[in-house]
């Protein structure tokens, strides 16, 4: 993380940890957690302004889009039309072209609807958007997203907000090995060590929201994730030792008394 970060659609994002801004107690806690995480990019949702309460604080009072990269998402959209409408509005708001697409297929699991997701990716790319795509951990579908112009592949570790961690390490590895665009594990990470595992598999980054926001002490957890992602990346770069069936003494036997 000291050097590099992730390059997405030509843009350098300085931290491999991207954080969500939902589910916090209040905006002050959101801002503190974002700060502690060291993230250079945050996801945000697009919603109606509350017209009944003019004085209510808003997110941009606490997080400055000039200082941190906003990644507008399409959370809550269940078809391609809703997703496109949301991201066009996001683009109008601040000129954002780099966006996170997520088209859901089921309210209970929040699993992505991959048919609508691929359709939306195509349409958005055609309109000039740079699309980071939330998807299932199916390597064939991930490849199709890449072939259709996705700027980053974002497979789930497990269902959104479940905290179940990486359920299919093999598939995530396959996606990492085949992809030429960044692979960022999105959704389902439960605790810091899950993020380390994802990074050790060679993922380019992780996106965390619930695991930080729903921790008993979110700001400390944000720092834990920052360190976990750095450790995982360093470990991946270092290349782990081989696993062996038998022991291998760490102290030399020569000169034994």
């Amino acid at each position: 993380m000291k050097k590099g970060g992730i390059k997405i659609a030509g843009k350098l994002i300085k931290s491999r940890l991207i954080v969500g801004t939902g589910k916090y107690k209040n905006f002050s806690e959101t801002a503190k957690a974002v700060e502690a995480s060291g993230a250079d990019m945050v996801t945000v949702a697009v919603r109606r302004v509350n017209i009944l309460d003019k004085k209510k604080p808003i997110l941009t009072d606490y997080l400055n889009p000039k200082k941190i990269n906003f990644l507008p998402n399409t959370a809550g959209c269940f078809n391609s039309e809703e997703a496109l409408r949301t991201l066009r509005l996001a683009r109008e708001m601040g000129g954002w072209k780099l966006v996170k697409l997520e088209v859901l297929g089921d309210k209970k699991t929040l699993y992505p609807n991959m048919i609508e997701t691929i359709k939306s990716t195509k349409a958005l790319v055609k309109e000039g958007f740079k699309v980071m795509v939330y998807c299932t951990d199916d390597p064939i579908l991930a490849k199709q997203l890449e072939d259709n112009g996705a700027s980053a592949i974002m497979p789930l570790a497990s269902p959104i907000g479940s905290g179940l961690g990486l359920q299919n390490k093999v598939n995530i590895s396959l996606i990492v090995k085949q992809s030429k665009v960044p692979v960022i594990v999105d959704a389902g990470i439960g605790t810091a060590s899950d993020a380390t595992i994802a990074m050790e598999l060679g993922c380019d980054g992780v996106l965390i929201n619930s695991a930080i926001a729903n921790a008993k002490k979110p700001i400390i957890m944000a720092k834990a994730f920052k360190d976990a992602v750095i450790s995982g990346r360093n470990s991946f770069n270092a290349g782990r030792m081989q696993k062996n069936y038998f022991a291998s003494a760490s102290s030399p036997t020569k000169g034994l008394i």
Partner: protein, 67 residues
Amino acid sequence: MAKIQLNGKKIVIKSNFSLFDLLKKYKLNNKKVAIEYNGLIISKENLKKKKLKNYDKVEIVHFIGGG
């Protein structure tokens, strides 16, 4: 007077009210928002030109916390 629908709620506004006036009424003219007018996105430069009339549907959106 004109009856319009703003963010799903029926409201009454003065006649000859523009989209820009509507934003000002809700103190949103200096905030990061986007406006959809009868299904079409209206850019900031054109807000003063669009005068509201009966049955218009307006959506004003902004960024909130999300994952």
